[in-house]
Symmetry: C2
Subunit: 197 residues, 2 copies
């Protein structure tokens, strides 16, 4: 039967968000088209009414997740305090334990490196994140602001990835804490943190 356009559109976005969550949690190869459709309450049949292929779904779902993440970052980190809270949340145990709802880069970067088509999405995401980091620096660093934001992002992604991969809970905590301390040890940030306390 034919369905109302509004419902169809709703299902479409539901597929997108289910897919991006499952991909982040289990990897691209770890989740099948059938599982994704099942997660949205549909059967595997209508998948190809919504997307060209699994590859296309990967692309579109990551694009969607990227925009959502950047919007959330905008909303959360629009003040210096917000930015600090955002960085803390990024390097928290909660974020570590919820990859399906978390950062695309930490969850999928190494797999995306192998999927030619999707690399442009990730590139835009990296550029946008570093741009936002620069703009959000409350102290408006002038000297090599872009470089500093790249360094910060690298450390954040690496620490979160390692904290997830490691088996030892104490080590995992230490990795997250060190990354937080590193960010706060930045003399420009340390001043701001001290003022808050």
């Amino acid at each position: 039967m034919r369905y109302p356009v509004a419902e169809t559109a709703e299902k479409h976005t539901k597929i997108l968000s289910a897919a991006s969550a499952l991909f982040r949690e289990y990897g691209f190869a770890g989740v099948s088209v059938g599982k994704i459709m099942q997660a949205t309450g549909l059967t595997h049949g209508p998948f190809y009414n919504h997307f060209e292929s699994k590859e296309a779904l990967i692309y579109e779902s990551l694009h969607d997740a990227s925009e959502k993440a950047l919007a959330a970052m905008d909303a959360a980190a629009d003040t210096p305090e917000g930015l600090l809270a955002y960085l803390h949340g990024y390097l928290s145990e909660e974020h570590r334990d919820a990859p399906g709802q978390g950062c695309l880069l930490a969850a999928l970067a190494s797999e995306i490196a192998r999927e030619q088509d999707v690399r442009s999405v990730l590139t835009r995401h990296v550029v946008a994140m570093t741009d936002k980091l620069q703009r959000l620096f409350p102290w408006r660093v002038k000297k090599n602001a872009r470089g500093k934001s790249i360094r910060m992002l690298s450390t954040m992604v690496g620490a979160l990835t390692l904290a997830r991969a490691v088996n030892d809970p104490q080590l995992s905590q230490d990795i997250l804490r060190e990354a937080r301390d590193m960010i706060e040890a930045n003399p420009l940030i340390a001043r701001r943190v001290a003022r808050e306390i």
Copy 2:
């Protein structure tokens, strides 16, 4: 027919190294048992004469690759100059473009996070790398040496991962360069670098 034990042992290690290289390049799900055996010049048949399962191969090949990598790190970075060269090599375009021969963490960390059995291998690898980094610091940092080595490793892994995932060659280079600069900007290292120039 039956084969000489020496040849069989040689084939065994050949499977191990082919597997770890292919896994790093294409991911665990991206390479089949058949492809691995083919890469060693055998057919898929005798695989189960050598390993219990693909899962067991993953574990053993990563264990093997980890030990080799740590030995190579020991050999290359036994002097301050060696350590600097090692860090430079880690953050080089050559390393970025040869994941199959490169660091386990940058190539597979996010996938390993999902494979319970293998996490202990990666944990040992992280601990060994940070231990070596601490011991190799020529200046023998006293204050929070472990923390500093964890931060350094996080930045290295994150930068290499992002440099691989990104589509834009200039951005990729910039990420690597910033990570190198960050390490060398450490005042303790800067002195050493300056002395070299």
